[in-house]
Protein backbone atom coordinates (compact mmCIF):
# COMPACT_ATOMS: atom_id res chain seq x y z
CA UNK A 1 0.00 0.00 0.00
CA UNK A 2 2.85 2.29 0.94
CA UNK A 3 4.53 1.64 -2.42
CA UNK A 4 1.28 2.31 -4.20
CA UNK A 5 1.05 5.70 -2.50
CA UNK A 6 4.63 6.54 -3.49
CA UNK A 7 3.97 5.62 -7.12
CA UNK A 8 0.77 7.62 -7.10
CA UNK A 9 2.51 10.68 -5.66
CA UNK A 10 5.33 10.27 -8.16
CA UNK A 11 2.86 10.15 -11.03
CA UNK A 12 1.02 13.18 -9.67
CA UNK A 13 4.27 15.11 -9.40
CA UNK A 14 5.30 14.13 -12.92
CA UNK A 15 1.92 15.21 -14.28
CA UNK A 16 2.21 18.51 -12.45
CA UNK A 17 5.74 19.14 -13.72
CA UNK A 18 4.78 18.17 -17.26
CA UNK A 19 1.77 20.47 -17.14
CA UNK A 20 3.94 23.36 -15.94
CA UNK A 21 6.51 22.79 -18.67
CA UNK A 22 3.97 22.89 -21.47
CA UNK A 23 1.71 25.67 -20.24
CA UNK A 24 0.38 27.17 -23.48
CA UNK A 25 0.00 30.64 -21.98
CA UNK A 26 3.66 30.68 -20.93
CA UNK A 27 4.78 29.38 -24.30
CA UNK A 28 2.80 32.07 -26.11
CA UNK A 29 4.09 35.05 -24.13
CA UNK A 30 6.96 36.33 -26.24
CA UNK A 31 7.70 37.91 -29.63
CA UNK A 32 7.31 35.80 -32.73
CA UNK A 33 8.82 36.27 -36.16
CA UNK A 34 6.51 35.24 -39.02
CA UNK A 35 8.36 32.82 -41.31
CA UNK A 36 5.64 31.20 -43.39
CA UNK A 37 2.17 31.76 -44.80
CA UNK A 38 -0.15 29.15 -46.31
CA UNK A 39 -3.28 30.59 -47.90
CA UNK A 40 -6.68 29.07 -48.57
CA UNK A 41 -6.30 29.78 -52.30
CA UNK A 42 -3.13 30.35 -54.33
CA UNK A 43 -1.65 33.80 -53.83
CA UNK A 44 1.53 34.85 -55.70
CA UNK A 45 4.70 34.07 -53.72
CA UNK A 46 5.80 37.70 -54.10
CA UNK A 47 2.65 38.81 -52.23
CA UNK A 48 3.36 36.26 -49.49
CA UNK A 49 6.99 37.40 -49.25
CA UNK A 50 5.85 41.01 -48.82
CA UNK A 51 3.57 39.93 -45.98
CA UNK A 52 6.24 37.83 -44.28
CA UNK A 53 8.80 40.66 -44.44
CA UNK A 54 9.55 42.02 -40.98
CA UNK A 55 6.31 40.66 -39.59
CA UNK A 56 6.17 40.10 -35.88
CA UNK A 57 3.58 39.24 -33.26
CA UNK A 58 4.06 39.93 -29.59
CA UNK A 59 1.97 38.54 -26.74
CA UNK A 60 2.46 39.93 -23.27
CA UNK A 61 1.62 38.57 -19.82
CA UNK A 62 -1.06 41.22 -19.24
CA UNK A 63 -3.19 39.77 -22.07
CA UNK A 64 -2.21 42.21 -24.79
CA UNK A 65 -0.94 41.58 -28.28
CA UNK A 66 0.56 43.66 -31.07
CA UNK A 67 1.47 42.89 -34.67
CA UNK A 68 3.75 44.75 -37.06
CA UNK A 69 5.08 44.35 -40.60
CA UNK A 70 3.57 42.96 -43.78
CA UNK A 71 0.88 40.88 -42.04
CA UNK A 72 -0.63 44.13 -40.77
CA UNK A 73 -0.25 46.45 -37.83
CA UNK A 74 -2.71 45.88 -35.04
CA UNK A 75 -3.00 45.72 -31.30
CA UNK A 76 -5.52 44.58 -28.74
CA UNK A 77 -6.18 41.93 -26.15
CA UNK A 78 -6.13 38.14 -26.37
CA UNK A 79 -7.47 35.14 -24.48
CA UNK A 80 -6.26 31.60 -24.74
CA UNK A 81 -8.65 28.75 -23.97
CA UNK A 82 -7.70 26.33 -21.20
CA UNK A 83 -6.50 23.65 -23.63
CA UNK A 84 -4.36 26.11 -25.56
CA UNK A 85 -6.16 25.20 -28.78
CA UNK A 86 -7.92 28.46 -29.55
CA UNK A 87 -6.75 32.04 -29.34
CA UNK A 88 -9.35 34.79 -29.29
CA UNK A 89 -8.36 38.39 -30.02
CA UNK A 90 -10.15 41.69 -29.67
CA UNK A 91 -8.59 44.43 -31.70
CA UNK A 92 -8.44 47.91 -30.21
CA UNK A 93 -9.28 49.26 -33.66
CA UNK A 94 -13.03 48.83 -34.02
CA UNK A 95 -13.21 46.29 -31.20
CA UNK A 96 -13.44 43.47 -33.75
CA UNK A 97 -12.99 39.87 -32.63
CA UNK A 98 -11.24 36.94 -34.27
CA UNK A 99 -10.65 33.35 -33.22
CA UNK A 100 -7.49 31.51 -34.29
CA UNK A 101 -6.96 27.77 -34.06
CA UNK A 102 -3.54 26.98 -32.61
CA UNK A 103 -2.15 24.14 -34.70
CA UNK A 104 1.22 24.18 -32.99
CA UNK A 105 2.60 25.94 -29.94
CA UNK A 106 5.82 25.17 -28.14
CA UNK A 107 8.69 27.28 -26.89
CA UNK A 108 10.08 27.76 -30.41
CA UNK A 109 7.15 27.48 -32.80
CA UNK A 110 3.70 28.94 -33.24
CA UNK A 111 1.24 28.03 -35.97
CA UNK A 112 -2.14 29.76 -36.21
CA UNK A 113 -5.04 29.21 -38.58
CA UNK A 114 -7.89 31.57 -39.33
CA UNK A 115 -10.37 31.47 -42.24
CA UNK A 116 -8.35 28.74 -43.92
CA UNK A 117 -5.09 30.70 -43.83
CA UNK A 118 -2.15 29.53 -41.73
CA UNK A 119 0.71 31.62 -40.41
CA UNK A 120 3.81 30.01 -38.93
CA UNK A 121 6.19 31.81 -36.61
CA UNK A 122 9.42 31.18 -34.77
CA UNK A 123 10.22 32.55 -31.35
CA UNK A 124 12.38 35.67 -31.14
CA UNK A 125 12.83 35.83 -27.38
Amino acid sequence: MNNFKKIFLCLLLCTFLFACGSNPQEALIKSWQVNGIKTAIDVPQSVKNDMIANSKMTFTKDGKYSTTGGIGADQGTYTLDKDGKNLATTSTAGKSNEIYVIKKLDKDNLELTNKGNTVTCIAIN
Binding site: V34, I41, G94, K115, G116, N117
Partner: protein, 150 residues
Protein backbone atom coordinates in the same frame (compact mmCIF):
# COMPACT_ATOMS: atom_id res chain seq x y z
CA UNK B 1 -8.50 43.60 -37.61
CA UNK B 2 -6.55 40.80 -36.02
CA UNK B 3 -3.23 39.04 -35.96
CA UNK B 4 -2.77 38.72 -39.72
CA UNK B 5 -5.46 40.81 -41.31
CA UNK B 6 -3.40 41.53 -44.43
CA UNK B 7 -3.27 37.79 -45.20
CA UNK B 8 -7.06 37.57 -45.08
CA UNK B 9 -7.36 40.67 -47.25
CA UNK B 10 -4.82 39.35 -49.79
CA UNK B 11 -6.74 36.09 -50.09
CA UNK B 12 -10.06 37.93 -50.55
CA UNK B 13 -8.46 40.16 -53.21
CA UNK B 14 -7.03 37.12 -54.98
CA UNK B 15 -10.41 35.42 -54.91
CA UNK B 16 -11.98 38.51 -56.47
CA UNK B 17 -9.23 38.62 -59.08
CA UNK B 18 -9.92 34.95 -59.88
CA UNK B 19 -13.65 35.71 -60.21
CA UNK B 20 -12.89 38.55 -62.66
CA UNK B 21 -10.63 36.24 -64.67
CA UNK B 22 -13.37 33.61 -64.76
CA UNK B 23 -15.86 36.23 -65.99
CA UNK B 24 -13.45 37.25 -68.77
CA UNK B 25 -12.84 33.63 -69.80
CA UNK B 26 -16.62 33.03 -69.89
CA UNK B 27 -16.95 36.07 -72.16
CA UNK B 28 -14.20 34.73 -74.41
CA UNK B 29 -11.86 37.62 -73.61
CA UNK B 30 -8.15 37.29 -72.96
CA UNK B 31 -6.39 39.90 -70.81
CA UNK B 32 -2.78 39.20 -69.95
CA UNK B 33 -1.64 40.05 -66.41
CA UNK B 34 -5.04 41.35 -65.38
CA UNK B 35 -4.96 43.45 -62.24
CA UNK B 36 -8.15 44.92 -60.86
CA UNK B 37 -8.73 47.32 -57.99
CA UNK B 38 -12.25 47.79 -56.72
CA UNK B 39 -12.67 51.03 -54.87
CA UNK B 40 -16.26 51.49 -53.67
CA UNK B 41 -17.64 49.85 -56.80
CA UNK B 42 -15.34 51.64 -59.24
CA UNK B 43 -13.23 48.89 -60.76
CA UNK B 44 -9.93 50.01 -62.28
CA UNK B 45 -8.42 47.40 -64.56
CA UNK B 46 -4.83 47.06 -65.74
CA UNK B 47 -3.36 44.48 -68.06
CA UNK B 48 -2.46 43.80 -71.67
CA UNK B 49 -4.84 43.34 -74.56
CA UNK B 50 -4.28 42.85 -78.26
CA UNK B 51 -6.74 45.47 -79.51
CA UNK B 52 -9.48 47.93 -78.63
CA UNK B 53 -12.34 45.48 -79.30
CA UNK B 54 -10.90 43.06 -76.72
CA UNK B 55 -10.57 45.86 -74.18
CA UNK B 56 -14.16 46.93 -74.70
CA UNK B 57 -15.42 43.34 -74.35
CA UNK B 58 -13.43 43.02 -71.11
CA UNK B 59 -15.05 46.17 -69.71
CA UNK B 60 -18.52 44.96 -70.69
CA UNK B 61 -17.93 41.57 -69.01
CA UNK B 62 -16.56 43.09 -65.81
CA UNK B 63 -19.41 45.61 -65.52
CA UNK B 64 -21.75 42.67 -64.92
CA UNK B 65 -19.80 41.50 -61.86
CA UNK B 66 -21.29 41.89 -58.37
CA UNK B 67 -20.12 45.02 -56.60
CA UNK B 68 -18.99 46.73 -59.80
CA UNK B 69 -20.76 50.01 -60.61
CA UNK B 70 -18.34 51.24 -63.25
CA UNK B 71 -15.03 50.27 -64.82
CA UNK B 72 -12.02 52.51 -65.38
CA UNK B 73 -10.23 51.00 -68.33
CA UNK B 74 -6.45 51.27 -68.11
CA UNK B 75 -5.73 48.29 -70.32
CA UNK B 76 -2.70 48.67 -72.53
CA UNK B 77 -1.51 47.19 -75.78
CA UNK B 78 2.22 47.69 -75.41
CA UNK B 79 4.78 48.79 -72.84
CA UNK B 80 7.15 51.15 -74.63
CA UNK B 81 9.39 52.12 -71.71
CA UNK B 82 12.40 50.10 -72.86
CA UNK B 83 12.14 51.43 -76.43
CA UNK B 84 12.61 55.01 -75.18
CA UNK B 85 10.43 56.47 -77.95
CA UNK B 86 10.22 60.28 -77.98
CA UNK B 87 7.59 62.28 -79.83
CA UNK B 88 6.79 65.94 -80.29
CA UNK B 89 3.61 67.71 -79.15
CA UNK B 90 1.80 68.55 -82.38
CA UNK B 91 -0.97 70.91 -81.30
CA UNK B 92 -1.60 73.95 -83.48
CA UNK B 93 -0.46 76.52 -80.95
CA UNK B 94 -1.83 75.62 -77.54
CA UNK B 95 -0.56 73.38 -74.77
CA UNK B 96 -1.67 69.76 -74.75
CA UNK B 97 -3.71 68.55 -71.79
CA UNK B 98 -2.20 65.57 -69.96
CA UNK B 99 -4.96 63.56 -68.31
CA UNK B 100 -5.41 61.11 -65.48
CA UNK B 101 -6.81 58.41 -67.77
CA UNK B 102 -6.96 57.60 -71.49
CA UNK B 103 -9.92 59.79 -72.49
CA UNK B 104 -11.19 63.38 -72.35
CA UNK B 105 -13.54 62.43 -69.49
CA UNK B 106 -10.55 62.17 -67.13
CA UNK B 107 -9.18 65.09 -65.10
CA UNK B 108 -6.25 67.12 -66.39
CA UNK B 109 -3.06 66.47 -64.42
CA UNK B 110 -0.81 68.86 -66.34
CA UNK B 111 0.03 70.39 -69.68
CA UNK B 112 2.75 69.90 -72.28
CA UNK B 113 3.80 72.90 -74.36
CA UNK B 114 3.43 72.92 -78.13
CA UNK B 115 6.58 71.61 -79.82
CA UNK B 116 8.13 70.05 -76.71
CA UNK B 117 8.99 66.37 -76.61
CA UNK B 118 7.52 63.58 -74.50
CA UNK B 119 8.54 59.99 -73.88
CA UNK B 120 5.99 57.30 -74.74
CA UNK B 121 5.63 54.84 -71.88
CA UNK B 122 2.57 52.78 -72.80
CA UNK B 123 0.31 52.45 -75.81
CA UNK B 124 -3.20 52.20 -74.43
CA UNK B 125 -6.13 50.22 -75.82
CA UNK B 126 -7.76 53.21 -77.55
CA UNK B 127 -5.05 55.10 -79.43
CA UNK B 128 -4.00 57.09 -76.39
CA UNK B 129 -0.56 56.99 -74.84
CA UNK B 130 0.72 57.09 -71.30
CA UNK B 131 3.53 59.61 -71.58
CA UNK B 132 6.14 61.48 -69.55
CA UNK B 133 6.92 65.10 -70.38
CA UNK B 134 10.38 66.68 -70.22
CA UNK B 135 9.26 68.42 -67.02
CA UNK B 136 8.39 65.08 -65.43
CA UNK B 137 4.59 65.12 -65.69
CA UNK B 138 3.16 61.66 -66.33
CA UNK B 139 -0.30 61.04 -67.72
CA UNK B 140 -2.33 60.25 -70.78
CA UNK B 141 -2.72 62.04 -74.09
CA UNK B 142 -4.28 61.22 -77.46
CA UNK B 143 -2.01 59.87 -80.19
CA UNK B 144 -3.26 62.35 -82.79
CA UNK B 145 -1.56 65.24 -80.97
CA UNK B 146 1.85 63.59 -81.19
CA UNK B 147 4.23 63.41 -84.13
CA UNK B 148 7.58 61.83 -84.79
CA UNK B 149 10.69 63.85 -84.04
CA UNK B 150 12.61 64.22 -87.29
Amino acid sequence: MGLFDNVTTAVADQQQQNDYNTALISAGVSVQDLRAQNDAGILTIFGNVTDQATAEKAVAALKTQPGVKDVVNLLEIEDLTAKNVKMKIATQQSNLNIRKGPGTEYDIVGKAAHGTSVQLIKRMFNNWYYIKTDSGIEGFCAANFLEEIK
